[in-house]
Amino acid sequence: MSDMRELYQEIILDHNKKPRNCYVMDCATRSADGHNPLCGDIVKVYLRIENGIIEEISFQGHGCAICTASTSLMTESVKGKTVTEAKEIFEGFHDMLTGVAAEQGVELGKLQVFEGVREYPVRVKCATLAWHTLNAAMDGDDIEKVTTE
C-alpha cells in the first residue's frame, strides 16, 4: 500500500482527476497524435509556437492516471519555454524514468513526482507517451491553414 502511494502521489491523482490545459486548440500552429497500442492510451497535443516559444499548449485524449497526469503536468512545465528548453526537460524526464544519471541536472520541478514510475517498467510508456507526442509536434511541420477561398 505504501509503495502504491509513492507511485500514485496526491499531485498525480489530482491532475488525473482535473487535467489542466485539456481542450482542443483552434489556433494551434502544430499538433501531433500519440498512441500506445499496448494499452490503447491516446493523446493529441496542440501547440501554438511563436518565435520558437511555446506560447500555448493543450491536449485531448484518454488514458490511465499516470498518462493523464503526466500529460497535464507536461503542459504546465513547458508552457512559455522555448522548443530547445522543452526538449531538454523531456530528456531530463526520460533519464529520470529510465534510471539514467543525467549529465547536467535539468530542473524538473513537479515532474519529480513521476520518479516512482521507474520501479514499474511497463508503466514508463504511460508517463512518456505525451512527451513523445510533444516531441513529434515540435519536430513537425506547421499546420496549413485551410482557407475557404
Binding site: M4, L7, C64, A65
Partner: protein, 417 residues
C-alpha cells in the same frame, strides 16, 4: 457427458489443494504477497507432468520425427503421433488424420484462410465473423478479403454480449464463403451457441470455423457433435506449452486443401519439375514440427482428463459465480458482458479509474489480472470502453483467491479516494 451421478462423484472428489500442488509456479510470492494468478485466459500455468514430459523428451527421446530408422527417432515419432491421437480423442474427432499440429489458434485460422478459403473466395464474396472476435479471427480474414476483393461482414452482439442470432441468419447468403465464430469470448466470457449456429450456416451451405482457444480449457468439446468444419485451439491455454496448437478439419476438406507452407515432411516426392504433396495432416506440417510441444500438450490433455472435465467445469462455474458476486459488491464496478452463458472470464470497469491503474495496484497485492483491450478492440468499442480489467479462472483457483481479488479492488478505491 456421462450420467449425473458420476458427475456428482467427480465434483465431490475435486480437491483444489491437491490440484495446486501439481503446479510449481503457483507457489511463489510476488511483491511480497502470495501469487494469485487470475490471468488464465492469457495463458495457464503448467502442471509438473507437462514440465516433466517436455524435459523427458529432451533427456531421453530427442530426435527428429518421421525420418530416422534409429530407436530415438522411432520414440520421438511415436510420442509425436500418440499426441495427435490424444488431441483427436480430446475434441471428439473421428480420425487422427483430421488433426494438424500448428503453432496455436492464430496459425490454425491463418492456415484455413490461406489453404481452404482463399481458392474459393472471389470478388464480392463474403466472410462472416462476429463482433466479439479476437484479433486473430479478424485480421487474417481482413487480409484475405482485401486480397480477393471480398467483404468482411460482422454479426452484431447485444448489450449483454450475446450474438444476435436473427441478424446472423439474415447476414448468411449465397456469397458467404465461411463463417468464423469464437466458441467462448476471451473478452466477455460469452459461450456462443455454436452448434445451433453451425446448423444454420450448413442450411445455407456455408462451412464454419470455430475458434476454441477459450473453450477447450473449460468445456467438453466434441467436434463431431458440433459438426463444425474446422476447430482451432492453443495448447498453452489448456495447461500445455506455448508454441503448439491444433487444427481439426473435416477430412474431406483437408484432402482438397492446398499446402500452407512448403518444405520437408509435407511432400511425397520432390524433383525440380514438380512435387507430389503428402497426405493430410502432414501436408500442412512443413518442416520439423514442435515435437516437445506436441508431447507436452498430450501430457496436459492427459492431466485434464485425469482431473475430469466435468469436475473442472463445475469448479470454475462456481468460481465465476462467486467472483461475479464479490466484485459487484464493490461500489462503482460495471461488468462488461453478462451473456446468458459465460465461462471463466470476468471483465469489468471501475468508475473513473483506468484498468491499467487497477492492474498495477492489484499486482502490488500479488493479484495477476489482465488490463487492456484483450486483443479485441472492436468488442471494447462496442461497449464504449477502451480497456477492461479481466479476471479469468482455471482449475487451480480458490475461494480465498477471489477474496484477495475483492480486497485488492477495495485497495484500488482507497488509493484513488
Amino acid at each position: 457427458m456421462s450420467n449425473p451421478h458420476a458427475v456428482a462423484e467427480v465434483v465431490d472428489a475435486f480437491d483444489v489443494e491437491r490440484v495446486r500442488a501439481d503446479f510449481p509456479a503457483l507457489h511463489q510470492e510476488v511483491n511480497g504477497k502470495p501469487l494469485v494468478y487470475l490471468d488464465n485466459a492469457a495463458t495457464t500455468q503448467k502442471p509438473r507432468a507437462v514440465i516433466d514430459a517436455v524435459r523427458g523428451f529432451y533427456e531421453r527421446d530427442c530426435s527428429n520425427v518421421h525420418r530416422g530408422v534409429h530407436l530415438l527417432s522411432q520414440r520421438a515419432t511415436v510420442g509425436f503421433e500418440t499426441a495427435r491421437t490424444t488431441v483427436k480423442k480430446f475434441i471428439g474427432a473421428a480420425d487422427s488424420r483430421s488433426i494438424v499440429f500448428t503453432r496455436g489458434t492464430t496459425e490454425g485460422i491463418n492456415l484455413v484462410a490461406s489453404s481452404f478459403v482463399r481458392p474459393r473466395l472471389g470478388e464480392g464474396d463474403e466472410v462472416l465473423i462476429s463482433a466479439m472476435e479476437h484479433h486473430s479471427n479478424i485480421v487474417p480474414w481482413q487480409l484475405l478479403c482485401e486480397e480477393r476483393g471480398a467483404h468482411l461482414r460482422v454479426i452484431p452482439i447485444d448489450d449483454d454480449g450475446d450474438i444476435i442470432l436473427a441478424e446472423y441468419e439474415r447476414l448468411l447468403n449465397e456469397r458467404t464463403k465461411i463463417v468464423g465464430i469464437v466458441h467462448v469470448s476471451n473478452a466477455l466470457g460469452t459461450v456462443n451457441p455454436v452448434r445451433e449456429m453451425i446448423a444454420t450456416a450448413h442450411a445455407h451451405g456455408v462451412p464454419v470455423l470455430v475458434d476454441g482457444a477459450q473453450a477447450v480449457p473449460h468445456l467438453a468439446v466434441d467436434v463431431q457433435e458440433l459438426d463444425c468444419d474446422f476447430y482451432v485451439f492453443s495448447g498453452h491455454k489448456v495447461y500445455g506449452p506455448t508454441g503448439i496448437g491444433a487444427l481439426y478439419g473435416k477430412r474431406e476438406h483437408l484432402l482438397e486443401m492446398v499446402p500452407y507452407q512448403g518444405g520437408g515432411d509435407m511432400i511425397l516426392s520432390v524433383s525440380f519439375e514438380g512435387t507430389t504433396f503428402n497426405e493430410p495432416p502432414h501436408r500442412f506440417e512443413a518442416g520439423t514440427p514442435n515435437i516437445e510441444g506436441a508431447i507436452g500438450l498430450a501430457s496436459a490433455i492427459n492431466y485434464v482428463n485425469r482431473i475430469g472435465r466435468d469436475a473442472i467445469a463445475a469448479h470454475e462455474r462456481r468460481l465465476l459465480v462467486d467472483a461475479t458476486a464479490a466484485v459487484l459488491e464493490i461500489p462503482g464496478i460495471r461488468l462488461i458482458g453478462s451473456a446468458r452463458e459465460r465461462a471463466s472470464a470476468l471483465s469489468f470497469v471501475m468508475d473513473g479509474i483506468h484498468p491499467h491503474d487497477i492492474g498495477t495496484i492489484l499486482d502490488s497485492e500479488g493479484v495477476a489480472v489482465r488490463a487492456g483491450h484483450h486483443c479485441a478492440q472492436p468488442v471494447m468499442k462496442r461497449f464504449g470502453v477502451s480497456a477492461t480489467v479481466r479476471a479469468s479462472f482455471a482449475l487451480y483457483n480458490t475461494d480465498s483467491e477471489i477474496a484477495a481479488l475483492a480486497a485488492g479492488l477495495v485497495k484500488v478505491r482507497e488509493v484513488f479516494g
